[in-house]
């Protein structure tokens, strides 16, 4: 897997936009792999009992999808040195085969010393396409 090079990007360069589907099965797998078994991410009855519309995706699952946009772009899962987000809206995941969709895009904000760039990320999801991440920014080291 080869990523983009530092020399090939400029301030304002867009990362390829990606669309990631998330189903109930994805949330169960993520719960197992991450150890986050909060019931609101897999139990509809208990999610509704605390006022949620249905089961919602782990914020960290959405952050991981944004991370994937960065690591696929850089061609290296170890390229991300700083990565921070605010979770601004929930992603409800219906109990059907289609699940929910998370659309993620990014733009190079600045080029730094040491072959590093900062990237601003936009993630939209849920039934109304709301911004599910804000203040989402990463520093990525490119070859």
């Amino acid at each position: 897997m080869t990523g983009v090079s530092y020399d090939s990007v400029e301030k304002g360069t867009d990362l390829p936009q990606r669309s990631y589907r998330v189903t109930r099965l994805d949330l169960v797998k993520y719960a197992g792999a991450s150890g986050d078994f909060n019931v609101i991410h897999w139990n509809e009855r208990l999610a509704k009992s605390v006022g949620l519309p249905t089961v919602i995706a782990h914020g960290m699952y959405t952050m991981a999808q944004a991370g994937k946009l960065l690591t696929e772009w850089a061609g290296d899962p170890g390229a991300v040195t700083d990565f921070g987000v605010r979770f601004s809206a929930m992603v409800p995941v219906p109990d059907d085969d289609a699940g929910a969709t998370i659309e993620i895009s990014g733009k190079v904000l600045d080029k730094l010393e040491g072959n590093q760039v900062t990237v601003d990320i936009v993630a939209r999801g849920g039934p109304d396409g709301a911004k599910v991440l804000t203040r989402a920014r990463a520093t990525v080291r490119l070859p």
């Binding site: 197992g32 991450s34 952050m63 696929e72 899962p77 040195t81 700083d82 990565f83 921070g84």
Partner: protein, 152 residues
């Protein structure tokens, strides 16, 4: 219920050493859909200059959440976990975590705030190798929604 403000500044840990394994990295990569062979194939990771397969950037949450969970679960804090929303998360890496790393995590309660009927718990978790090498600092903000307000 407001969180106990006396927790601000408290330090939890370091906990038991956590050994990063190839299987766990591969499981996590599968769960998030990360396809890179650098998370699965040791030879490919070595060829790319790493000591072993490397973890995706959000993997550190597996370790940081286990550490900060000690804070959240402390009954004297007064956190109702069913009303908790994850508000902010960040990771600052000195280098990627790789298979074979044995690390310990220490969580500091940076601040506790109340905003209206919401309470905020801000923690930072330092993940260092058992030899003392810094690998990652994970910062997290949890918001406990006011019970009387219900969900947003």
């Amino acid at each position: 219920m407001a969180l106990n403000p006396a927790f601000a500044g408290r330090v939890f840990g370091p906990g038991e050493p956590y050994e990063v394994s190839r299987v766990k990295i591969a499981d996590f990569a599968d769960a998030i859909g990360e396809q890179s062979e650098l998370c699965r194939n040791r030879e490919a990771a070595i060829k790319a200059g790493y000591p072993d397969v490397i973890a995706p950037p959000t993997f550190a949450v597996v370790i940081s959440m286990a550490s900060s969970g000690e804070v959240n679960a402390d009954p004297e804090l007064g956190l109702d976990y069913s009303m908790v929303v994850h508000s902010d998360q960040s990771f600052s890496y000195s280098r990627p975590l790789h298979a074979g790393d044995v690390v310990v995590a220490t969580t500091t309660v940076d601040s506790i705030k109340s905003v209206g009927s919401m309470s905020m718990l801000i923690t930072s978790t330092e993940i260092v190798t058992v030899d003392g090498e810094h690998v990652c600092t994970a910062r997290s903000t949890l918001v406990e929604r006011g019970a009387e307000r219900g969900a947003e």
